[in-house]
Amino acid sequence: MKKLRVVHYINQFYAGIGGEEKADYPPEIREGLIGPGQALQAAFKEEAEIVATVICGDSYYNENMEESKSQILEMIRPYQPDIFVAGPAFNAGRYGVACGDITSHVQNELHIPGVTGMYVENPGVDLYKKEVYIIETKNSAADMRKAAPKMAKLVIKLGHHQEVGSPEEEHYIKRGLRKNYFADKRGSERAVDMLLAKLRKEKFDTEYPMPSFDRVSPSPAIKDLSQSKIAIVTSGGIVPKGNPDHIESSSASKYGTYDISQFDDLTDQDHETAHGGYDPVFANEDSDRVIPVDVLKEMEKEGMIGSLHPYFYTTTGNGTAVANAKAFATEIAIDLKNHGVDAVILTST
């Protein structure tokens, strides 16, 4: 079989260009492999070769999706790859979204199959798992050694247009595609077995897990702004300067509640961000860019809103487990209720 030509996509961090301060790095393409491409190349052995690597800053991609994607597609085209690989992005949210998005466009517009890799809670998973094969990784780059052979195996299969096996066999995240197969027992017998297991409180596997309609119906609108108490909640990690409660920059295990009654405007003297997932410079200069305290205080004075709740609630959204975020929000919600808050502005970065 011929050696497959692979183009690899990575972000500015894995390219060694820089961290969050370089996340606005525009796309470029370089010959050959870079950074994590080495592990992939090792796993490809002689069967495939990374002919070029695309690099793009995570913020740049996410803020200019349409433009980034067009530029990158044009960069890839002349290399005529057989297959495209992005990431893996592990649990980096914006990197995950970029990997999923660009892979889906490469598939749809260049008609080249693609593979990426992510941790199951990466927001890119839900957005792109239907269209893109996403190899399941752990939540940190330490998993690269294990992820690379799994990705490589699928890359080679897809590159040769071979049939892809089940999610269990190939280690990709289930794409929500229902496929028929012949089971060992007829359906009624499977039903009786399942009922017996359920009655005995034993483990059983439903053949069709109910789709999670984890939607909450919208709360009723507020009637009169001028009578309403508004509160601010943010996942942008704004904290009093010095981060007194040491909220983690990523994978937060706590949230903070801070008094803003004494501030009409947040400045670099009193507030900053604890968030490690985006360039903090702008938020550190002026935290109103993340939580609009200055504007809401004005509106309170003008009588446009009844009042601004004297406390805001904050945590860092990046890499934070869904279960944690849920737990924080439940506590916050109780506090909001107790303080008679009518409506919430929740900002995210």
Partner: protein, 76 residues
């Protein structure tokens, strides 16, 4: 987070840059913002211009809170 708060009956407006993520996480009132590191500002402008943008976005968000919605709604 949005959902847990909204479950209690308090309306939430989600101000964020990556609207698709907001949709995935189940926000019902969504106001798209400027950019990830500065959702409610734009450092390339003067402080006054920036505040004007912020004020308009907050107005939009407040307005969204006064509008009944059926399902996920993006207030462009």
């Amino acid at each position: 987070m949005v959902k847990e708060i909204e479950k209690t009956g308090i309306p939430v407006v989600h101000m964020c840059t990556i609207v698709p993520i907001s949709k995935t996480v189940g926000a019902n009132r969504i106001v798209p913002t400027v950019a990830i590191p500065h959702p409610l500002g734009n450092p390339s402008l003067t402080m006054a211009e920036e505040k004007e943008i912020r004020r308009n976005l907050v107005l939009k968000a407040l307005e969204a809170l006064t509008i009944e919605v059926e399902g996920q709604t993006v207030f462009e």
